[in-house]
């Protein structure tokens, strides 16, 4: 009846990441096929219960949100630096490098500030894993299967005290824009024609606070 003490989650190690370079077979990585299978089930589950495309995206986002909150603590703990992110740019870098590396094994491809709006930032990924094995049928139109990732981003930002609205968009990759060879390409897969853009829109009070910290 009694459970072995070492079975308790509090006694197990937190799976520290090995050196960033080198060792690709990391202790904390999950099989790609296992992930793709579970994720496709997740999408199907929500698809069957959602009445519209936007509701489906919202459901995927809320599924990712809780993951984001936990990922934040876990990545911060593994970082071993014992510091919190208090500035806008540092939390964005934290998301696009540390969080991305721990989730997808690589950094995000770019982090840009919107030209038109001061409160908007874009995190770009050319090969988002969540939509790699998803083909969106015609009748679902603009659906982005990466909504799950945008939920994770929102969770991380919200947890750290930067409330933001994060949305995922599929954007056509222009000719010659991404010249790098695919990093984790699966053999037999055609080159992707769409990239994922995660649009982060911070709430006004976050920008206000960051402006006061500037001084």
């Amino acid at each position: 009846m009694s459970r072995n003490a070492s079975n308790n989650i509090l006694d197990r190690p937190l799976g520290f990441r090995a050196t960033p370079a080198g060792r690709s077979s990391d202790v904390s990585s999950v099989s790609l096929s296992a992930f793709a299978y579970v994720y496709s089930e997740l999408v199907q589950y929500h698809q069957g219960r959602a009445a519209s495309i936007s509701e489906l995206e919202r459901r995927l986002e809320s599924a990712g949100y809780g993951v984001g909150l936990k990922v934040l603590e876990c990545v911060a703990y593994r970082g071993k630096e014992m510091k919190r992110e208090t500035r806008l740019m540092s939390i964005l870098h934290f998301v696009s490098s540390s969080v991305w590396k721990s989730l997808f094994g690589k950094s995000a491809d770019s982090l840009e500030r919107s030209i038109d709006n001061q409160d908007e930032f874009m995190i770009v990924d050319y090969e988002p894993i969540t939509s790699t094995f998803v083909s969106v049928p015609q009748d679902l139109g603009q659906l982005s299967a990466d909504a799950y990732v945008s939920g994770i981003i929102a969770g991380v930002l919200d947890g750290a005290g930067f409330s933001a609205r994060v949305t995922a968009h599929n954007v056509q990759v222009e000719e010659g824009e991404n010249s790098r060879p695919p990093t984790n390409a699966t053999p037999g897969m055609p080159r992707r024609t769409e990239k994922a853009v995660f649009l982060v829109k911070f709430s006004p009070e976050v920008l206000e606070r960051d402006a006061t910290l500037e001084r």
């Binding site: 308790n8 989650i9 509090l10 197990r12 937190l14 809780g66 909150l69 936990k70 934040l72 603590e73 876990c74 990545v75 911060a76 703990y77 014992m82 510091k83 919190r84 992110e85 208090t86 500035r87 540092s90 947890g159 750290a160 005290g161 606070r209 910290l213």
Partner: protein, 142 residues
């Protein structure tokens, strides 16, 4: 008069998530300190919350050291990455000692939050967590 027990709480966004009053002097739980001083201890701890929130954005380290002093008691605070507050009321322990205690509790907290059945910012009811926090307190703070 025996040593004053330490009081440790974890405070989330809206409510306390975990509370423990730990007698570090003997290890035997005694209620000799009385109901009144316990209540006062809670009052001191919770009134320090405003000070914590004020200093939260001025530094980017997790350990905020002593944020408030009332009579002979001090309130040390540690903020996690998601701004969950660990607060300890004690009677003048060394800064490093308290830091080591917080680091150990943080480790347990992160592990606890990796449990898929634990939802972020909800009260912690895990007995295993409670046992380990109390053991850590006795190991570091006595």
């Amino acid at each position: 008069m025996a040593a004053v027990p330490v009081l440790f709480v974890i405070v989330g966004k809206n409510e306390p998530l975990y509370e423990a009053e730990i007698d570090t002097s003997t290890g035997i739980h005694s209620s000799s300190s009385g109901d009144l001083s316990t209540r006062q201890n809670y009052f001191v701890l919770h009134s320090a919350l405003d000070l914590v929130e004020k200093s939260a954005w001025t530094t980017n380290s997790m350990y905020l050291r002593v944020v408030d002093k009332v009579n002979h008691q001090q309130v040390s605070t540690f903020l996690t990455a998601a701004n969950v507050k660990f607060m300890l009321l004690h009677s003048g322990k060394g800064e490093e000692v308290v830091k080591n205690f917080f680091n150990e509790v943080y480790q347990y907290y992160v592990k606890l939050s990796m449990n898929p059945f634990y939802k972020f910012d909800t009260p912690i009811s895990s007995k295993a967590f409670d046992t380990r926090v109390r053991a850590a307190a006795r190991a570091y703070l006595s």
